[in-house]
């Protein structure tokens, strides 16, 4: 009798243990099967759509390379077109957060959209990972523990050219940028390391396509070097008109985001030899980058620019973090710590996060060249900064 009871007790205990295990597996497993929802906010209409498409394609390529799964969970990417309109972005992102309850929002491309969606996303508890925009306020005083940037702080690519111009001994620089916040930040960034004379600092109306008067003023001012920040359609037109005006042989052309892979197909030969600054270029000499460039071109038929690279890294970042937490998004603190570790192999080689969630990485001056197959890309010329963190991190209270 005693033996039977003892046996029954043992079985009961085992049954309970088994039941608990099943339950735990069920819960954990249930979450393991639950799709991971990621919102992707990018500009997919209008003149800047080519940049937004690179971000979308780069990110989706990363998910594809991971087999559509992160830490065993199928990934659902919900793509949102912000149309480069902050009010549209806010409205759609709010809908995304309320309806789909995403854990991650990857985006945006442009800084003004970032300013608009930062609060709604971080307030909701989701993580915001920007594959391009990296404004100074969120690097400094307004930094947030749920905000990570896989690109750079906005000033940095411009600082690269400022330092380059200074090191090369240029004395008189002429600057031109569009008349909006990013334009002002750009020229401020250039001036940080350049101590020569600024002949003039011109802000062209945003979206302007005709540079006859600006080029006339540049020609008559006769500076040593020109620094240009004119993204998208603005840059396409400026570069073509600059070359047509015959200034390309007389004036060194330094730029940021003006001759990148998103606009080179439109600029073509007009941009050859022009310089820019970035943390990566398609000809970077490491195995993961080479594989990525090949992979991207095979899938999308265009040369990837930094936008695609950064978006791809964002995908890798999320994968690394979730693998560390075994697919669980329930423990936000653990997930945050895992994100901060950035334990993945970046396409650009060295990569780690600063205290404010912005990267610490190397920067190079790159030059536009024509490839053997007729396509255009930027190529690394020389390194300008090593392990360069941004200037605003000191103001960020996060540790």
């Amino acid at each position: 009798m005693m033996k039977q009871r003892g046996a029954m007790k043992q079985w009961s205990i085992r049954a309970v243990q088994a039941g608990l295990a099943l339950l735990a597996f069920g819960i954990g497993g249930a979450q393991a099967q639950e799709p991971l929802k990621i919102g992707l906010v990018s500009v997919l209409s209008g003149p800047q759509a080519t940049l937004g498409q690179q971000v979308r394609d780069g990110f989706q390529l990363a998910i594809k390379d991971l087999g559509g799964k992160i830490a065993g969970r199928p990934v659902e990417v919900i793509v949102i077109d912000d149309e480069l309109k902050p009010d549209v972005a806010v409205s759609k992102v709010r809908g995304l957060l309320e309806k789909d309850k995403v854990d991650f929002v990857v985006g945006p491309v442009f800084s003004n959209i970032l300013q608009a969606i930062h609060k709604p996303v971080t307030d909701s508890g989701a993580f915001l990972i920007s594959p391009n925009a990296g404004t100074s306020n969120f690097a400094g005083k307004a930094c947030h523990e749920n905000f990570f940037v896989t690109s750079y702080q906005n000033d940095q690519p411009h600082e690269v050219l400022g330092k380059y111009a200074q090191d090369k001994g240029y004395k008189r620089a002429y600057l031109i940028a569009p008349n909006y916040q990013a334009g002002k930040d750009s020229l401020a960034g250039f001036k940080r390391h350049f101590t020569g004379e600024i002949v003039d600092e011109v802000y062209a109306p945003l979206g302007q396509l005709d540079y006859a008067s600006e080029l006339a003023k540049i020609a008559s001012a006769k500076p040593d070097v020109l620094f240009v920040f004119l993204p998208g359609g603005m840059g396409i037109n400026f570069v073509k008109q600059f070359r047509q005006a015959g200034l390309a042989d007389k004036l060194p052309f330094l730029s940021a985001f003006t001759v990148d892979e998103s606009v080179l197909p439109a600029q073509q030969d007009a941009a050859i030899g022009f310089r820019s600054g970035m943390s990566w270029a398609p000809n970077m000499n490491n195995p993961q980058s080479k594989a990525f460039v090949q992979n991207y071109e095979a899938n999308f038929n265009v040369v990837p620019g930094s936008y695609a690279m950064q978006a791809y890294d964002a995908g890798q970042l999320i994968n690394a973090a979730l693998t560390a937490t075994k697919g669980s998004t329930a423990d936000k603190a653990a997930l945050r710590a895992a994100l901060k570790k950035a334990d993945f192999v970046s396409l650009r080689g060295k990569f780690k996060f600063n205290t404010n969630g912005y990267p610490i990485q190397d920067f190079y001056v790159v030059k536009v060249a024509k490839r053997a197959d007729g396509k255009f890309q930027t190529e690394i010329e020389e390194k300008v900064f090593s392990d360069y963190g941004d200037t605003y991190a000191a103001e960020c209270p996060l540790k």
Binding site: P47, A49, N179, D210, A245, A266
Partner: protein, 319 residues
């Protein structure tokens, strides 16, 4: 030495000013071509066509496609215009004709639906990124205007084309029989059918003419502006401003209004920052300039409407 420097700066200023005047003329003439069709449709047919801007966009897209396909500018342009005409006639038959007797509000709503459909349709077919249309080979290059300043030749071509169009329209409206019917219709629409004019045919003609003009403007603008979905919406609102300033139903009014709006808008945008800098700091000037310069044509319109509600050159007989 000093006076020489001052003279050089003055020369540069004059050349840059000349560029802005030319830019203003160019914008004005493009707007004239769009506004002319709109004012006739509204004036004679009493029909509010919000989709007029879309016809401008279709002209640009068809031009991009036809020129790329045929590789030949004039042929491509001609094909594009034929396409615009056909589409315009199709729209007239299917969507607009049932609406002639309806209230203006119904016309507004229906043509709004048309805008949504066509803008999205164009995006689906051609993608969201702008199409690139090259400047035709004979018009490439630039013209030298004093002191090494280059002005693109193609923009002169646009100005010339606009002026020729204006002349042709003027001749057509003033000197031909159909033009007479048009003018009659613009001043006294109800009398028209009473006089035995085939109103149906006249409406179709006006529509066709308006569409082709708008499409032609779009095709002309394509190499220098962005060919993208929604490019017609901004032009639409400007066209309405133009015809209200000029006088509804009046081609002369559309011409005067368009040039006025084009010049004022361009000059305001170019010089606003500099003017503001006389009154306030650089940062404030840059911040305010964009909004303030955009307001100018609306202030102009409000003033004109207040002082002369029928417009600057109203169709004769219209009160």
């Amino acid at each position: 030495m000093r006076s020489a420097q001052a003279m050089v700066r003055c020369e540069i200023f004059m050349s840059l000013f000349a560029i802005q005047i030319l830019n203003g003329l160019q914008l004005g003439l493009l707007m004239f071509m769009v506004a002319a069709g709109l004012t006739l449709v509204f004036g004679v047919m009493d029909f509010i066509n919000l989709a007029h801007g879309v016809q401008y966009m279709i002209g640009a897209y068809l031009a991009a496609v036809m020129i790329a396909m045929t590789g030949h500018y004039v042929l491509g342009l001609a094909l594009a215009l034929i396409g615009v005409l056909l589409i315009g006639l199709l729209l007239e038959h299917v969507v607009f004709r049932p609406l002639y007797q309806r209230s203006h509000l119904d016309q507004v709503l229906a043509t709004f639906g048309l805008i949504l459909f066509l803008n999205q349709g164009v995006k689906m077919v051609f993608g969201a990124s702008p199409l690139s249309v090259p400047v035709p080979a004979w018009f490439e290059g630039a013209v030298l205007l004093g002191d090494g300043i280059l002005y693109p030749l193609y923009r002169f071509v646009i100005i010339a084309a606009g002026l020729i169009m204006a002349l042709l329209l003027w001749l057509g409206v003033e000197k031909t029989r159909i033009g007479m019917q048009l003018r009659a219709g613009a001043s006294h629409p109800d009398m028209l059918s009473a006089l035995g004019v085939d109103v149906r045919k006249l409406f179709m003609l006006i529509f066709a003419l308006g569409s082709v003009l708008a499409g032609f403007a779009g095709a002309l603008a394509a190499p220098i502006l962005s060919v993208e979905p929604g490019m017609g919406d901004q032009i639409l609102i400007l066209a309405f401003v133009v015809i209200v300033i000029g006088g509804i139903g009046s081609i002369r009014g559309a011409f005067a209004g368009a040039l006025l709006v084009g010049l004022i808008d361009t000059l305001a945008r170019s010089y606003m920052v500099d003017v503001l800098r006389l009154f306030t700091g650089a940062a404030a000037a840059r911040g305010i300039a964009n909004g303030l310069s955009s307001m100018f044509i609306y202030i102009l319109m409000a003033v004109v409407l207040f002082l002369r509600p029928q417009g600057l050159f109203p169709a004769r007989g219209r009160s």
